[in-house]
């Protein structure tokens, strides 16, 4: 696994970001920064706008006003294709429901992310196998998602997210669909990743996940940041 430079420079910078869906305000003048090497958890009640915030950072959605800068790139300046290329190089995403392709075995699901960048199948599979090995699921490389356990699926999803060595790893309720044991494993994995320098942004309802993996907690309500606290990680 690649270690990260934790220089403290801002990897994510949001300035006065507003997002409206019709008359509904999803984000209201959000301003925040995430520095390189940080692990930030965003918590809040359902519908408070935390997933919208994650979408803004990932370039999956555009703000109504304000600027979102990730790794020095103002996302508002990018076209749809530019955003796709940006995500490919800079962002890794982990979802609550894994979102693996059912028709591909674990190895090819992971390799896919590199193949989209133009890597050969051989190169992509070698890198994917390396990651699966590091995440402890190399022996499941030829198994299709339907036959994997929840924890294994999420590990495969994490491997896929790390495939292109992203500057920022975004996780949306990564333990939400897992049982407690699998959830624990994923939490350990995320913590390990952060400890070797991977910048993390986790959206979660789970206080245990937040306190265990994050170094900073952002509390969200009604589309805005209501509190920000540095955390002492619990073992």
């Amino acid at each position: 696994m690649t270690t990260r430079d934790s220089s403290g420079q801002a990897v994510v910078r949001l300035e006065a970001v507003h997002k409206e869906y019709g008359t509904t305000k999803a984000l209201d003048a959000v301003t925040l920064q995430i520095r390189a090497g940080e692990a930030v958890a965003v918590m809040g009640p359902s519908g408070c706008g935390k997933s919208t915030l994650l979408n803004m950072v990932a370039g999956l959605d555009r703000p109504t006003s304000g600027t979102v800068t990730v790794h020095g790139q103002n996302l508002g300046e990018l076209t749809e294709t530019g955003l796709a290329l940006f995500r490919r190089r800079r962002i890794g995403m982990i979802f609550q429901f894994f979102n693996l392709l059912d028709d591909l075995p674990a190895l090819d699901n992971v390799a896919l992310a590199a193949q989209l960048t133009g890597s050969t199948a051989r190169q992509a599979r070698a890198r994917a196998l390396e990651l699966l090995d590091e995440l402890g699921v190399a022996d499941r490389r030829d198994v299709y998602p339907a036959a994997l356990s929840g924890g294994e699926r999420q590990r495969v999803a994490v491997a896929r997210a790390l495939m292109n060595r992203p500057a920022l790893l975004l996780a949306d309720e990564p333990t939400g669909a897992l049982d407690s044991r699998a959830g624990e494993q994923v939490m350990d994995l995320l913590m390990d990743l952060n400890q070797i320098g991977q910048t993390l942004m986790i959206v979660t309802h789970d206080p245990q996940l937040a306190t265990r993996c994050a170094s900073r907690l952002i509390e969200f309500a009604d589309g805005t940041v209501v509190a920000e606290n540095n955390l002492e990680r619990t073992p």
Binding site: S51, T52, N55, A58, L60, D61, E80, T81, A84, L85, R87, R88, R89, M93, F95, Q96, F97, N99, L100, L101, D102, D103, L104, P105, D108, A111, L112, A113, Q115, L116, T117, G118, T120, A121, R122, R125, Y144, A146, R160, A161, N164, D172
Partner: protein, 771 residues
Amino acid sequence: MSAVWRAARAALRRRKVQSAALGIVVFSSTLAAMVSLGLIEASSGPFDRAFARQHGAHVTAVFDPAAVSAAQLARTARRPGVQAVAGPFGQTTLTVPDGDPNLAPGPLTVVGRGDPGGPVDRINLWAGRWATRPGEIVLNRPDDPPIFGQDLGLALTFTGGSTFTVVGLASTVSQTAQAWVSPGQMAALRPASLQVLYRFTDAATDTRIRTGLATAVADLPAGSLLAAQSSLTLKRDHGRGASAYLPFLAAFGILALVVAILIVSHVVSGAVVAGWRNIGVLKSLGFTPNQVVSVYLAMVLVPTVIASLAAVAVGGLAAHPLLRTVSQGVGDADLATGLSPWVYAVTLPGVPAVVILAALIPALRAHRLPAALAIGAGGASRTGRGRRVQRRLSGARLPRSVSLGLGLPFARPARSLMTLTAVALGVTAVTLATGLSSTMIAYGQASQRAGLVHTLIHAGQPHTGQTVPQHGDAEIETLLRGLPGAHHVTAVTWMELHLAGYPQPVRAQFLRGDWAATSQTVIHGRRPTGPGEAVATSPFLDKRGLRIGDRLTVTHNGTQTPLVIVGQTMDGHPDMIQADWRTLSGLAPDRKATQYEVRLTPGTDIGTYNNAVKTADPGLFPSAAPQVNTDTVAVIGAATTLTLLLGTVAALGVFNTVVLTTRERRRDLGMLKSIGMTPRQVTTMVVTSMAALGTAGGLLGIPVGVVAHHLTIVAMTGAAGIVLPPSMTDVWHIPALALLVTAGALIAVLGALIPARSAARLTIATVLHGE
């Protein structure tokens, strides 16, 4: 409002795109079905239908007025077996002089008739009015205003000086006359014979017709019946022309019907399968299985009924001109009757019935499924179908978006098979149409001698009041050759000859000059190179049991000359031969050419050349030779229309597949975009999936189309009695076939492009967080 209706309305609102796609498919398919049923109807017994409509004459009998009276003839109506009688009408023959610009030279059968109606042979007076006064004539012309409408008002002068004005144009399937005048005018012309038209209670066979006629005329003086023409003989003659196009019409009709049914079934079953997940939800809410089935039937029936009604209305209007065009191509516009009521009666409930059946099968499967399974059935395939293919493709040296696209069809093999079949049938239609067009264009050009003869020059005839040429026959030929732009000149005349051993006369065309460069294609043997040699048409040889190399003796005014058949021409005229002018010199040495055919050098303006001809000799009447065969144009027009219709329906099938697939795979598409797949890569992936099916469809459809072309051409030429050279039937070459393969891919890509672009614009956030 019932819960079923409320749920169906909600489903319709939720699936606007799919409902619209279903509506468009049903509309196009209903239209295609109506046109195809119309074509099948037009191709099945057109003569019989037109004959029944016009109360055609089973026998057209001609009597000697010197041997039998009109009263005696009228009494034959009461004889056993006689169903209806029209006449007696006075009949005579007028002679059209050589060189007449409006009518073919030779005898013209004219009948005196008070009106076009009556119990037998209800003549279709399609332009102008009936002849009621002296000097008025109605010409027998096919119901085709653009071509023959200009004949109305013509002044016709016949040999002997009698002059008539054309006041009406009419047609009759019984071919009882070539022209009609009023009974008063006929009396003035002194009828040479009396025509009586009979319908019998039993006219199924030649024997029964002969028996019916024999019974009808049994009491008449012997020898009073001069001639009789049976409707069955007419039907066989008619078959020579019209039947040539019937296999083509039937082939396209059946093809269109199959494609329409296939696509409707495909779209409807896809729509219901895509709704299984919702079926599960409805069941979990307490809907009974029957209520659930009703919801889904209502969901597909609403757009179906609306689209069917619209299509039937549009089809009723649109099919008539198409069928009329085709019938004109077939050679008898009388056959175009529009769509029969049975076509509406079949189509209107038929297409919704296909929809119900197509919807019912998957809906009943869902009916039996437990709710939990139904809920889980709507997503992407989880059974690993096609996984081996996907796995192999993921290691292929292809851009990943392409290899993913190539694997997509294997996830839903049944749906892919339906799409493949639709595209294959679309390509079959395109292949058949392009092949037929190529053959028909080549045949049309050869029969019209397009490019071989550019201008036809008639020599003015004194008996028609035209200016007579100042130059003699040979001088005219020399003059035409000397004018700027002339490349080849052929002098032509026609003559009726008697063939020793055969009762019927034959029509001989004698040619002088460069006729090797301007005359019809010789498909077997060679052109005559000297006197005593002739070429004949295929039906001429068939009709008389002759072959190339056989010897004939022809007679004209008591002068005999031997002829050897040295070649076979492509044309289908059963009584036509062509011979060199030197043969004519032995039969009629003083005969002059009545027409000159000129082929111009490339780049020469036909109008300029014709003006030069007119200036050089005002007694010459040049006219540009038609370069287009109207029959060919009609058939190609119909083939093109149907091909576009079938191609569109096939593309709609692809469109529907892509809509369903991208809807099912929204989550996968969202994930792929989230890991960096660009919109262009998404479009490439989706379009590739269909282009692969399209290419496979092309590869399957081409051989079927080639075989269909071969069978259709064999049936057409057999029916028309023509033989085509291999150059006209072997129209398939590698570049053309390669283009046809791309036709399949093109149909698929056109159908896939819109939903693929829509998938590329999918909002990832909504898809991925909507689970």
